[in-house]
C-alpha cells in the first residue's frame, strides 16, 4: 500500500511517460527497498534535479501524445464522414469497410501497394517510438547501455552463461561417471538460425554482419553442446523452420471433368521469360501435350527430360495425362516452367512422403533467376570491353 503510494508520487510530475521507472522499480524489489529506506522525505524527491536529456525527452513525449490525440480525433471524425458518404451506418463501420470505401473512392493502379491511398488509424500510421532507456537523473537502466547495443550484447552474455552452466553440469555428471546419451542430443535438422533482419526485429537494434556472425557462432556452439537439450526452449527461440512444409490443406483440391477424371490446373508457371499453365489429369495413360503438340514440341532432348523428370521421379509417368500451355522465353525456360507446373500439380496426386522428397529434390522450388541486364560501358551484364592501353 505504502509502496504504491510512493510510486504514485514518484510519477506525479508525469504519470505517463515515466512508466519505465516504475518498470524498473517493479522488476527490482531490492532496489525499491533501498529507495524507500533512503528517501524518506517526499519533498526531497520532488526537488530532485532532472537531467536535460530527460527533460527534453519528456517534452517530446508530451508533444507526441498531444499530436496522437489530435490525429485520433481526426480519424474518428473522418471515419464518420466516410460512412456518411458511402451511405452506411457509422456505428458499425469497421476498418475493413474503410479500406473498401477508400479503394472505391480513390481507385489506384499503382504497382507498389504501399504507395496507394490509405486511411488507417494513427497507431498504425505513425512509427512507434522507443521509450526512455535511462531514469530521471540520466542514469541508464541497462548495465550494457554504454555498449550502444545493450540487447545484442545481453544476448551474447546469456549464451555464454548457458554454455558455462552446461559445462559445469557436464563436469558434475562426469564426476558421477555418467556420460551424455547421444540419443537425447538436440536434433533440429529442419530448422535454421534466425536471419539477421529477424534478429534485429527481436532485439530492436541494428546489428552489423560481423555481429550477426558472432551470434551464430556462439549459439552454434551452445547448440552443439551434448547437454544442449536442457535449454531447448532458449535455443528454439532463435531457430525457425527451414521451409514451411505445406500442409495438406494448402494443396489445390482435385476437380472432376465430364469424364469423371480428376484434374488439377496450376496457373502461373513461370521460369525465365516463359509463362504457362499446366493441367494434370488422372487416371491417364501418359499423354503429354504441350501447346497442342506432343513432346516433340521441344526439339532437343534436354527440355524433354526436364518435362518428364517430375513424372519419373514420382513414378507417375503412365498414370497421368499432362496438358500444358506455355508461351514466351525459349525452350529451356518453357521446359522449366512446365516442369515446375507438373511438380506443383502432382502434389495433389501423391502422398506426403513423396511430396517431401520432391521438395528435397528441389522440384517444388521456384527458380527466380532471370537474365541480367546489360550495363552501359560494358560488353554485357558483367563482361567488360577488351582493355586496350591506348
Amino acid at each position: 500500500m505504502l509502496r504504491s503510494l510512493r510510486l504514485k508520487r514518484l510519477l506525479q510530475f508525469n504519470g505517463k511517460t515515466l512508466y519505465n521507472v516504475s518498470r524498473l522499480l517493479r522488476s527490482e524489489p531490492t532496489k525499491l527497498t533501498t529507495v524507500e529506506s533512503e528517501n524518506e522525505s517526499e519533498a526531497k524527491l520532488e526537488k530532485k534535479s532532472m537531467s536535460k536529456a530527460m527533460k527534453a525527452y519528456l517534452e517530446r513525449a508530451q508533444a507526441h501524445d498531444e499530436f496522437m490525440k489530435q490525429q485520433n480525433y481526426e480519424f474518428q471524425i473522418g471515419k464518420r464522414h466516410l460512412a456518411n458518404m458511402m451511405g452506411e451506418n457509422p456505428e458499425t463501420f469497421t476498418q475493413d469497410d474503410v479500406d473498401r470505401a477508400i479503394e472505391y473512392l480513390f481507385p489506384s493502379g499503382l504497382y507498389e501497394k504501399r504507395a496507394r491511398p490509405i486511411m488507417k488509424p494513427p497507431e498504425e500510421v505513425f512509427p512507434k517510438r522507443k521509450a526512455a532507456e535511462f531514469d530521471e537523473t540520466g542514469r541508464p537502466h541497462h548495465f550494457l547501455f554504454y555498449t550502444g547495443k545493450s540487447n545484442y550484447f545481453n544476448l551474447l552474455y546469456d549464451i555464454v552463461e548457458h554454455i558455462n552452466n552446461l559445462n559445469k553440469y557436464e563436469d558434475s555428471m562426469l564426476n558421477k561417471n555418467s556420460y551424455p546419451d547421444p540419443n537425447t542430443k538436440l536434433q533440429l535438422d529442419g530448422y535454421q538460425w534466425m536471419d539477421k533482419e529477424a534478429l534485429e526485429n527481436v532485439l530492436i537494434e541494428k546489428i552489423i554482419d560481423k555481429e550477426y556472425t558472432n551470434f551464430v557462432n556462439a549459439i552454434e556452439r551452445l547448440y552443439n553442446h551434448p547437454y544442449s537439450y536442457r535449454i531447448k526452449e532458449f535455443i528454439l527461440k532463435y531457430r525457425k523452420p527451414l521451409m514451411s512444409q505445406k500442409s495438406t490443406s494448402d494443396l489445390p483440391k482435385l476437380q472432376y471433368d465430364s469424364d469423371g477424371r480428376s484434374y488439377v490446373t496450376v496457373y502461373e508457371c513461370l521460369r525465365k521469360r516463359a509463362r504457362g499453365h499446366v493441367t494434370i489429369r488422372a487416371p491417364g495413360s501418359g499423354i503429354i501435350s504441350i501447346n497442342g503438340k506432343d513432346l516433340m514440341y521441344f526439339e532437343d532432348t534436354q527440355p524433354r527430360e526436364q518435362v518428364i523428370f517430375p513424372l519419373i521421379f514420382t513414378k507417375m509417368l503412365n498414370k497421368v495425362d499432362v496438358e500444358a500451355y506455355v508461351e514466351g522465353g525459349g525452350p529451356s525456360g518453357q521446359a522449366g516452367a512446365i516442369r515446375w507446373g507438373i511438380s506443383w500439380g502432382l502434389r495433389s496426386f501423391v502422398d506426403d512422403k513423396i511430396i517431401e522428397s520432391m521438395r528435397i529434390a528441389g522440384l517444388l522450388t521456384r527458380d527466380y533467376r532471370t537474365r541480367e541486364r546489360k550495363k552501359p560501358g560494358q560488353a554485357g551484364a558483367r563482361r567488360k570491353f577488351t582493355w586496350k592501353k591506348r
Binding site: 501418359g286 513432346l295 516433340m296 519419373i312 509417368l317
Partner: protein, 387 residues
C-alpha cells in the same frame, strides 16, 4: 518380357561365322515360344505376314551386298548394322501392308502407285528397303533410286545435254545408279531373256542394236559415262515396253520422290542458272515409270521433307510435298502413313538392342526412352547410342 539369352554373344571379326553359330542356336537350342518375342524365324519376305509385325528379320549378307551396297540403307543404320554384325530389319505395318497389296495385285490393271509418307526418322526408307527385298525375292525387276535428294540436292557433276536441247545431264550420278541397277538385277537380267526392241545409235561407230541384251545397254552407260543419261532413258523406255508386253514384272522404288517436283535444285547450268528438275534429262524417264499407263509393275515412292530445301520443310503430308503438279501426276495414288513405333514395336526394338548388348538393362529405361524419343525410331537410335 525379355529373358536373358542363353547363348553367349561375342563380337566376332567374321560376321558369317557368327551368324551361322547364331542360326543353329536359335533353331536348335531355343524353344519356339522364345523366338516369338522379337526375332522372326522367317527371313524370307515372301512368307511374312501381319502376325510378324514388330519382329526383326535378318537380311542375308549376300542379299545386302547385292541390293544395298550402293545405297538404300541410311548411313547411320549401315554403321549400326556393322556394329551389330548383322542386318536386321523390323517388319512393320506399312511395308507389310504394301507387300500384301502387291501379293494380291491384278497385274493386268494399270500400275498402282504407293506413296509412303511420315515425319522425319520414322523409318520410311527402311520400310522401302524391306519392300525392295521383297521385290528381289519375288523376282521383280528393280528400278530403285536409293535417295533422289543425292541427285537433285548434291549432284556430283552437271553438263548440258547434247541430244536434248535445254536439258542438263548428271552423268556421274546416273552412271553410279546404273551400277546399282546392274548389281540389283544381275541375276534376273542373266536369267530372263530381256531384249531391246529398237536400235540406239550413240555415235557413228557406237550403237546398241535391236534385240540385243538389256545388259548391253547398261554396260554401255557404265563404260561410256558421257551417254549414261541417254542410256538410262533408253533403258527405262525398254523396261516399260517389256513390262507392258508381259516379259517381266517391275518394281519402281524411289526414295525422296518429291524432289522431282521441288523447283529449286542445286544443279546449275553453265550460266549458273538453277535447273528445274524437269529439265534434268533423266527425270522424264522416271516420271514416265510412275504413270499409270502401263502394267505388270508396281511403284512404291517416298515423299520426304529431307529431299527439299530446309526452309520449306513445314509439313510432311504428300500433297504439300508433291505440290500441285506432283499430285496431279500421281493421282490416284495410295498414301501409306509410316508412324513411330507402337508399344509392341518399341519393346521389341529395345529387346533387340539389349540382346545385341547395345543398351544396358536398367529399370525404368524403356518408359523414359519411349517418352523422350516420342517413339521415333531414329531419335531412339540416337538416344541409345551412348547408353
Amino acid at each position: 518380357m525379355f529373358k536373358k539369352p542363353r547363348y553367349i554373344f561375342r563380337y566376332n571379326k567374321n560376321p558369317k561365322s557368327l551368324i551361322t553359330s547364331f542360326q543353329c542356336l536359335t533353331t536348335a537350342a531355343l524353344p519356339t515360344e522364345r523366338i516369338d518375342s522379337f526375332r522372326c524365324v522367317i527371313n524370307n519376305p515372301l512368307e511374312q505376314n501381319e502376325g510378324h509385325i514388330g519382329q526383326f528379320y535378318r537380311v542375308p549378307e549376300d542379299v545386302v551386298s547385292k541390293l544395298f551396297s550402293q545405297g538404300g540403307l541410311p548411313k547411320s543404320f549401315r554403321i549400326q548394322t556393322k556394329t551389330f554384325a548383322e542386318t536386321c530389319l523390323m517388319i512393320r505395318k506399312p511395308s507389310i501392308d504394301i507387300i500384301n497389296c502387291i501379293k494380291n495385285l491384278d497385274f493386268s490393271k494399270p500400275v498402282p502407285r504407293f506413296v509412303l509418307y511420315g515425319q522425319k526418322g520414322v523409318g520410311k526408307s527402311l520400310s522401302l528397303a524391306h519392300i525392295v527385298h521383297y521385290g528381289y525375292e519375288a523376282g521383280f525387276l528393280l528400278v530403285h533410286i536409293p535417295w533422289l535428294g543425292e541427285w537433285m540436292r548434291r549432284p556430283k557433276d552437271s553438263s548440258p545435254s547434247e541430244t536434248k536441247e535445254g536439258y542438263t545431264n548428271i552423268n556421274l550420278d546416273i552412271a553410279s545408279w546404273l551400277v546399282h541397277f546392274k548389281n540389283q538385277n544381275s541375276l534376273l537380267l542373266e536369267k530372263a531373256n530381256l531384249k531391246t526392241t529398237q536400235t540406239y545409235k550413240w555415235t557413228k561407230r557406237e550403237e546398241t542394236v535391236a534385240n540385243s541384251n538389256l545388259m548391253d545397254l547398261v554396260d554401255h552407260g557404265i563404260n561410256r559415262i558421257k551417254f549414261a543419261s541417254d542410256c538410262v532413258l533408253a533403258l527405262l523406255n525398254e523396261i516399260k515396253q517389256l513390262s507392258k508386253s508381259g516379259k517381266c514384272k517391275t518394281l519402281v522404288a524411289i526414295d525422296g520422290f518429291n524432289a522431282f517436283f521441288y523447283p529449286e535444285t542445286r544443279i546449275r547450268t553453265e550460266k549458273k542458272e538453277i535447273v528445274h528438275p524437269h529439265n534434268v534429262s533423266v527425270t522424264e524417264g522416271f516420271l514416265s515409270l510412275t504413270r499409270f499407263d502401263w502394267k505388270n509393275a508396281v511403284a512404291v515412292l517416298i515423299v520426304d521433307e529431307l529431299a527439299i530445301a530446309e526452309k520449306d520443310q513445314t509439313s510432311y503430308f504428300p500433297r504439300y510435298l508433291l505440290g500441285k503438279d506432283g499430285f496431279e501426276h500421281l493421282d490416284p495414288f495410295i498414301p501409306v502413313l509410316v508412324n513411330g513405333y507402337s508399344n509392341k514395336e518399341f519393346l521389341s526394338c529395345m529387346n533387340y538392342y539389349r540382346e545385341r548388348r547395345w543398351v544396358q538393362p536398367l529399370p525404368g529405361l524403356d518408359d523414359e526412352l519411349s517418352v523422350i524419343s516420342s517413339s521415333n525410331p531414329y531419335k531412339l537410335m540416337q538416344l541409345c547410342a551412348p547408353l
